[in-house]
Symmetry: C2
Subunit: 316 residues, 2 copies
Amino acid sequence: MRPLCVIGLGLIGGSVLRAAAAAGIPAFGATASQADASAARSEGFQVHSVTEALHEARTRDALVCLAVPLPAVDEVLRAVAAAAPVARLTDVASVKASVRSAVARHAPHARYIGGHPMVGTAESGWRAGSATLLGGANWVVCPGDDLEVWRDVAELALQCGARALPMDAERHDAAVARVSHLPHLLAAVLAAVGAADGPLPLQLAAGSFNDGTRVAGTRPELVRAMCEGNAEALVPVLDTALEQLHAARETLASRDELETLAEAGHRGRRALQRLRSGHGAELTTELTAATLTGLAQRGGVVTRLDGDTVTARLPD
Amino acid sequence: MRPLCVIGLGLIGGSVLRAAAAAGIPAFGATASQADASAARSEGFQVHSVTEALHEARTRDALVCLAVPLPAVDEVLRAVAAAAPVARLTDVASVKASVRSAVARHAPHARYIGGHPMVGTAESGWRAGSATLLGGANWVVCPGDDLEVWRDVAELALQCGARALPMDAERHDAAVARVSHLPHLLAAVLAAVGAADGPLPLQLAAGSFNDGTRVAGTRPELVRAMCEGNAEALVPVLDTALEQLHAARETLASRDELETLAEAGHRGRRALQRLRSGHGAELTTELTAATLTGLAQRGGVVTRLDGDTVTARLPD
């Protein structure tokens, strides 16, 4: 199996390292965080400096997985260009178009395929992760020119217990604005407004407030990095949300009926539940660039790789 | 123990009936829903017509608990006025000032004390409830002129495993706009926007979207009844949320830093967690109107009633 080098051992990087090692992949890591490094070492993992890790990756032709926070990506890419310029490279960052640009700028010879496992908790750091965090998750693996590295990354996703979801960088960024960054903004607003009048309203908080504010417990700098880093895709989605919320405000202010929003919200929630409960059609075919493009357009999820054959499930 | 008559056997009414019966309170009910009635009867509960139940409540001097949806409150109050005009009366509706007005209009001689147990799920109907749903919940019991009935209702809350929280109707309505109705509106907007671009974005939905949209699974007519019924308190809270979301939009559009919102959201979430983990000071004193007013101002939660003595916990 191709070795794995994980740079950044926080929640996601730490979980990838543990899951890959548990699956038998020779895996090692690096992190700028002393706390994460010693926690990982105490569990028996090899943790080097970033430069050492990249040198080892070059020697062993490892897949390098960047799992550092967005603001640190440029610096690590420059280290990649210096120590392992033609490395097989992926990442787990929550935006894809800007990381692809950063790779083109700072490590133009790397064989880069963007990735993003769709998991997360309000917690962060090595100790918040686990070998099972990625289990059952959809892991976006952007189609690119390099089919061989696409296969490496998809194989890593599958070995970690996830499923590989081919999706273009731009489409991914628009989608996560909708289903990940907007939820973080709304959770922050809800938590801020809910707590703005002292402890009395909070005494009445039950499930709706607790669930709706959970991700506001995320470290503010992580929320900022995600949302600011995807501002271009997030602003139009936020405008749609503002429009609907304004309409609801006018409806309520004129003591009119809130039917439109209540029904649309309910339909949206049901669509999510249908998608999750659906089994979908299964498709087995050759792994080609065209296959990935087709799967990306239809929302197909890769559940198996076998030689040059790919098995995917399509949404109902 | 004073008997209990529950009118409306959906999620909340059904849970109150079961919890009260489990605590040894002689309890019976009524519902306009054939499905809820036969489900309750099949579990051995006495279910009458509304008129029969109210007649029995009058004969046995029971506490009558209205647990019907808001749009049905007026009609049931007229039935109370006809069959048990001076009944001890409470309710579990999600708004308090308008129910108080409705009681003054339709059943002016009833000894009414407003109530609202802060629980709920996206499910509804008898089958969604349980004897334990109310366990550990804060149950708002509005202070009023009738200390004896206040005690009846607080005792019911405690017997159901909840804690009684004295809070004025207006204060309650403003608080639930903040921590219950706003979350429902935001969940609806999030679910609607998330599902507006087909299944592909939903393939990327993980914890933040799932938690943030959970209550959008509530029956739309229940969401409407809550929000429309509390429009007066909800509009200003919604305006605050819109203001913060607009500010975030401008910040993102000008590629500025989202620090204010991210920090405020995180602080709000921490305030909720602190309140929940805090043990607070305990206070034991005589149950008087002044005691309830004082507890209502400080957010005290009644955990025990013993003769004319009340024990409460104050927030930290």
